[in-house]
């Protein structure tokens, strides 16, 4: 079971327990544009929009290259809507990895971001991820 999508689904459920109001989530390999784990209602197919949004935001072609040739790479995006907040975070240990979380709007944005960072850190450390990112 180690390294399978089902195993990573379990890892995500556990890691995201402390993120308030999570409805849906996807763990994304940015270069390949695929989801390797998820949680919430629906199958992997239903999480396709989350994957595409992550690739648009964190894909290599989306760095902000300034005239000074300074490259600004964004690591986190928060889409704050009336009813939900969608967070897209790049892995710190595994920059090829992104976590997308769709959460209800009840929580404070800063608190949600902190909880999401903790969840991603926990996910990045699990053994089950090794065969996907090495």
């Amino acid at each position: 079971m180690s390294g399978t999508a089902a195993a990573l689904d379990g890892v995500m459920v556990k890691a995201c327990e402390r993120v308030p109001g999570v409805r849906n989530a996807a763990l994304v390999l940015l270069a390949e544009g695929i989801s390797i784990g998820g949680l919430g209602a629906g199958a992997a197919f239903d999480r396709e929009p989350l994957v595409r949004a992550a690739v648009r935001c964190l894909g290599t072609s989306n760095a902000w290259v300034r005239s000074s040739r300074r490259v600004t790479e964004f690591a986190e995006y928060a889409f704050v809507g009336d009813e939900q907040i969608t967070l897209i975070l790049r892995g710190k240990l595994q920059p090829r990895l992104a976590l997308v979380l769709v959460c209800t709007r009840e929580s404070n944005l800063a608190f949600l971001l902190t909880a999401a960072r903790d969840a991603l850190r926990e996910i990045e450390l699990v053994e089950e991820l090794a065969e996907w990112v090495t």
Partner: protein, 266 residues
């Protein structure tokens, strides 16, 4: 071609050529093999834009923006011809035109000429020559004229964007507003707070365009999107009434102020 009839990529490329000149460079960026006009540069800044068919336009603009009459204007024109003087600056020197009036007339003239020169992509060539002594006040940065030109094509959106950004104008905030050209599917900078170069604005627009696209993927209409680097630099982006706003926050206080303001508005 956009609905405005302007080839924005060609215009931005021409202005970028000027932006890349040094502050010692003066000369003319010619448009077209059979010269259709050109952009005159003095010490790296634009002093005049000429386009065929608009030879007498500055005269009309000066008459429209000031209280000078035609007889007086003809007299000064003749004097400038004889002495190889600069019409606008001579009018200001003689107290017949306020500096601000000349600035408005020159910017409008340059904008209209740039629109005319950018109807289609034309080959360009820069020829260096000595400057004529234009006062810096009456010369402009390429980015200023790009914003003026976009604004002239989207006047209502420019006015709206200006009001919105002026309400944000506090220390520590740099911002830019972009309008969407539906035909070319590109974002055009229309107002900015700060001193960004064209290349920077283009890069910022290219990056920011991924926000509405990602929102479409997610099927959400966010009140705002917050993007953060690992070092903590933040950009707040939102889309409203056909305008994409980007605000670069240099510190936590400005970030908190912008996000609270936007969320309160939502």
């Amino acid at each position: 071609m956009s609905p405005t009839g302007v080839d924005w990529a060609a215009l931005a490329d021409a202005l970028l050529q000027i932006e890349r000149l040094s502050l010692d460079d003066s000369g003319l960026l010619e448009f077209g093999i059979e010269q259709r006009g050109g952009i005159f540069v003095e010490k790296g800044r634009i002093c005049w834009v000429a386009a065929s068919g608009l030879g007498r336009r500055l005269r009309h603009l000066i008459l429209a923006h000031s209280r000078i009459d035609e007889v007086e204007l003809d007299r000064v024109c003749e004097q400038c011809r004889r002495q190889n003087g600069l019409l606008g600056q001579t009018l200001v020197a003689q107290g017949l035109l306020e500096p601000a009036e000349l600035e408005v007339a020159l910017r409008q003239h340059s904008t209209e000429s740039l629109i005319e020169l950018s109807r289609a992509p034309l080959p360009t060539r820069f020829r260096s020559h000595a400057g004529r002594g234009y006062a810096p006040r009456f010369t402009f940065r390429p980015v200023e004229l790009l914003l003026d030109t976009v604004g002239a094509c989207f006047p209502e959106l420019r006015a709206k964007a200006r009001r919105e950004l002026e309400a944000l104008a506090t220390p520590g905030i740099q911002a830019a507003a972009f309008v969407f050209d539906p035909d070319r599917e590109c974002l055009l900078p229309v107002v900015e707070l700060g001193q960004r170069a064209i290349e920077d604005l283009r890069a910022l627009g290219r990056w920011a365009s991924s926000m509405p696209l990602a929102s479409l993927e997610l099927a959400v209409a966010p009140s705002l999107t917050l993007a953060t680097t690992e070092k903590g630099d933040s950009v707040v982006v939102w889309w409203g009434a056909g305008i994409l706003y980007t605000v670069i926050c240099d510190d936590r206080a400005s970030l908190a102020a912008i996000t609270s303001r936007q969320l309160a508005k939502a």
